[in-house]
């Protein structure tokens, strides 16, 4: 039976990967008997044994460093970082070794490691439990960075990440863990490039979640439902908004993004991470470089503010909302 939640899809992807490939090993904090604090590894230790779903000591650099050695020996480790902000101790291993090993061995040693990181806010978490850390990773050459926003992509992208011969930072939107797919998409859930719930989704391909003619919203991960809701709401104003789900921040799918922007001539990039130096800045720059003559207005961004992630009682002001997205759409110089 196809899973109906992101957690279920991720769990199924791990289970299928463990079953299909004896080299796949899951390791992390509390991934064994507990099944992870979000239950993504639920039942895996019981089914595949403690060695293949390993409860490690509490040390993120040690976890990732150990995974590097395992990968050097030919295994395919899948590492769970317990929370976005608790992945930072592993940053040196990630940037100095995981991202660079292929290059610093002249292509001889690749590291097929998947690093799963629950990320993002909107879940009422206290400090250090709601960071959106994607820009740190996306800025590091040598890493692939993907983030699913639908149940099918939860499965398909994780299978693809585990199968990849390059390291993949796999960002899981905590906010979407327990939800079914967001309403409002007019394209088939997987669009032209990914299929049913049990299929691998290609890394490096964005997908048009909703076709539209007025303006294009470009988003990923936890902000996809906001954008789809905004597109629905905009219909009342006679606006037909397209919604692109990037899915893969690195490699970046210029082709899909640019085609979607050229089709409407207006674009808003939406993400929950702080705007300054964020992924949205990169997207806006790329659109400017490649679609300049098709644009009727500057590319706008709707992002989190440039502040430390706010506390639960205030986070709603920080997160992109339907209203903020629609406000940005309204500022796309329609009067001309």
């Amino acid at each position: 039976m196809s899973p109906t939640t992101m957690v279920g899809a991720l769990n199924a992807a791990l289970r299928d990967s463990l079953r299909d490939d004896p080299d796949v090993h899951v390791l992390g904090e509390d991934v064994g008997a507990l099944g992870g604090v979000f239950r993504v590894t639920d039942g895996l230790a019981a089914e595949f044994g403690a060695a293949r779903c390993l409860d490690t000591p509490l040390a993120e650099a040690g976890i990732l460093g150990t995974a590097i050695g395992m990968a050097m020996y030919g295994l395919r480790p899948v590492v769970e970082m317990q929370f976005d902000a608790f992945a930072y101790p592993a940053f040196e291993q990630l940037v100095s070794h995981v991202a660079k090993m292929r290059n610093r061995t002249g292509g001889r040693v690749g590291l097929p490691i998947t690093i799963r990181v629950p990320y993002g806010g909107g879940v009422g978490g206290v400090e250090h439990h709601s960071d959106s850390s994607e820009a740190y990773y996306a800025h590091t050459p040598g890493l692939h960075v993907v983030t699913p926003a639908t149940v099918a992509d939860g499965y398909g992208l994780l299978r693809a990440a585990i199968a990849s011969d390059d390291p993949v930072v796999f960002l899981e939107p905590k906010r979407l863990y327990w939800s079914a797919d967001p309403p409002g998409g007019t394209e088939p859930a997987a669009g032209a490039t990914s299929g049913a719930q049990d299929q691998v989704a290609p890394i490096g391909r964005a997908v048009v979640r909703r076709a539209g003619t007025s303006a294009t919203l470009i988003t990923y991960g936890p902000s996809l439902p906001i954008c789809l809701a905004a597109a629905q709401a905009a219909r009342a104003d006679g606006l037909d908004l397209a919604v692109v789900d990037l899915r893969s921040l690195v490699p970046f799918d210029d082709e899909t993004v640019c085609a979607a922007v050229r089709a409407t001539g207006r674009a808003v990039v939406v993400h929950e991470a702080s705007g300054f130096g964020g992924v949205g800045a990169e997207v806006a720059a790329r659109i400017g470089e490649q679609c300049f003559h098709h644009l009727a207005a500057p590319v706008l961004r709707v992002t989190g503010y440039d502040i430390p992630y706010p506390p639960p009682m205030l986070e709603k002001h920080h997160l992109p909302s339907v209203d903020r997205v629609l406000d940005a759409v309204a500022r796309l110089q329609w009067e001309q």
Binding site: A50, L54, G65, Y73, G74, N103, G110, P251, H294
Partner: protein, 433 residues
């Protein structure tokens, strides 16, 4: 798969929540007096052939350090962190390993890499200024030199752990390998060192950690680095065996490391070995060691030069005479000459390789950037007087750029620029720059 399931491990005493000691600390404790062979009764009993072999390698190793340092002065090496004075550790580390074993060196351990069989010119590739380590890690079973301190220690643990997992799944293919990780005294302060030792002990991974305690981390002396009784004592906190050895006594280093490696190989858990030694040269060719240590201190250690100590032993045992020494000196000069010749013949790196191994498959953006650099280099080659920053905007229509244009072929076909006159020459990640 009981390998890592320590709930059933017999040597962990009592349930996990018991507050008493879960194992006896005494067998783990290092003898605070470093193990020595030279100058003791054990010296006469030491295998004479092995002693001569070690000596020969030490002579060559010393010459290697000198030659590499000279090459930095000639600008042929970007940098060289010499291991002069630490050759007994370097050679010992390589010699105690079997072919199936793995070595995880740090940036100061080029010599250990050469001692394990990598060609000098290859082992020095990184220091020459290339992007990669210069040898095939799988061919030699040596990880690339690691500069971020102590980070490589965890890799050794993971590799050794993986090997045991494979062996458990397929006993017939069990190669019982050991991973040897090299760390400096300063590196033991890093969190990664702690985490690696803890993981090794908990996973019971067949790893030996060799700390070459040369007294300094660049300028900072050990006293400011650690308040531990010895660095080997740190092992006890992880539940692993600690051993202390005179790192300038090549025979003792070989003996202690051999024992440690076989201890790990036999499944009895990891070992931490501290070798007390001294770096006779500066930290690197770029360092001025007179700012933080006295000439007297260096001279005192020169008297304990590992080569001098072993030389004296061999002569006292009648294992080396002047003719033998002269023959060794000739071999050392031959090595130095060979290194110089290899440097003469070494090719420059190809700029195209900057892009080839970032990913298994270059992204479209990287292909575009590679094409941009190639076009620029071709332009410069055609007309060296031309302003390399001038690109002709006429040829480019940004809106007709498709994914195909982002491939190398697409870009090579025509100039690509949509940046206007003030945009500068900086590269973006994107294909359109």
């Amino acid at each position: 798969m009981t390998l890592v399931d320590h709930s059933t491990s017999p040597d962990l005493v009592g349930p996990p929540h018991s507050h008493g000691p879960r194992r006896d600390a005494a067998p783990l404790l290092p003898d605070p007096e470093p193990v020595r062979v030279l100058g003791t009764e054990a010296a006469a009993a030491f295998d004479p052939e092995l002693a001569r072999d070690l000596h020969r390698r030490l002579v060559l190793a010393r010459r290697f350090n000198q030659q590499a340092t000279t090459l930095t002065r000639q600008g042929r090496l970007a940098v060289y962190p010499a291991s002069t004075g630490q050759e007994a550790c370097q050679v010992g580390a390589a010699m105690v390993l079997r072919p199936q074993d793995w070595l995880f060196p740090s940036y100061r351990d080029t010599l250990a890499v050469v001692a394990r069989g990598v060609r000098p010119i290859d082992a020095l590739t990184l220091m020459r200024g290339h992007a990669h380590c210069g040898y095939d890690p799988y061919e030699h079973r040596i990880a690339p030199l690691s500069t971020p301190l102590a980070t490589q220690a965890a890799h050794a643990v993971g590799l050794a752990h993986a090997a045991r997992l494979r062996a458990a799944a397929n006993p017939a293919a069990d190669e019982q390998l050991v991973a040897l990780a090299l760390v400096g005294d300063g590196g033991t302060s890093e969190g990664d060192f702690h985490e690696a030792l803890n993981f090794a002990a908990v996973l019971r991974a067949p790893v030996v950690f060799l700390v070459q305690n040369n007294g300094y981390a660049i300028s900072v002396p050990l006293a400011r680095q650690s308040a531990a009784p010895t660095l080997a004592h740190k092992a006890v906190g992880y539940g692993m065996v600690g051993r202390l050895v005179d790192g300038n006594d090549a025979l003792a280093v070989h003996q202690v490391l051999s024992d440690a490696v076989e201890h790990a190989r036999s499944g009895r858990g990891p070992v931490l070995v501290e070798a007390i030694t001294y770096r006779l040269d500066a930290h690197t060719n770029a360092d001025d060691a007179t700012r933080y240590r006295s000439a007297g201190e260096v001279e005192a250690w020169r008297a304990r030069d590992p080569l001098t100590l072993l030389d004296a032993h061999l002569r006292a045992q009648g294992l080396l005479d002047d003719a033998g020494a002269a023959e060794l000196a000739r071999a050392a000069e031959e090595l130095a000459g060979r290194i110089r010749a290899e440097f003469e013949a070494a090719p420059e790196p190809d700029p195209a390789t900057l892009f080839t191994h970032v990913y298994a498959e270059p992204t479209s953006q990287l292909r575009a950037q590679a094409a941009e650099l190639a076009a620029r280099l071709a332009d410069e080659a055609d007309d060296p007087g031309d302003d390399p920053f001038h690109l002709d905007g006429d040829e480019f229509d940004s809106d007709n750029l498709t994914a195909n244009d982002l491939t190398a072929d697409g870009l090579a076909a025509g100039g690509v620029d949509d940046r206007g006159p003030d945009a500068g020459a900086g590269t973006t990640r994107g294909g359109a720059a």
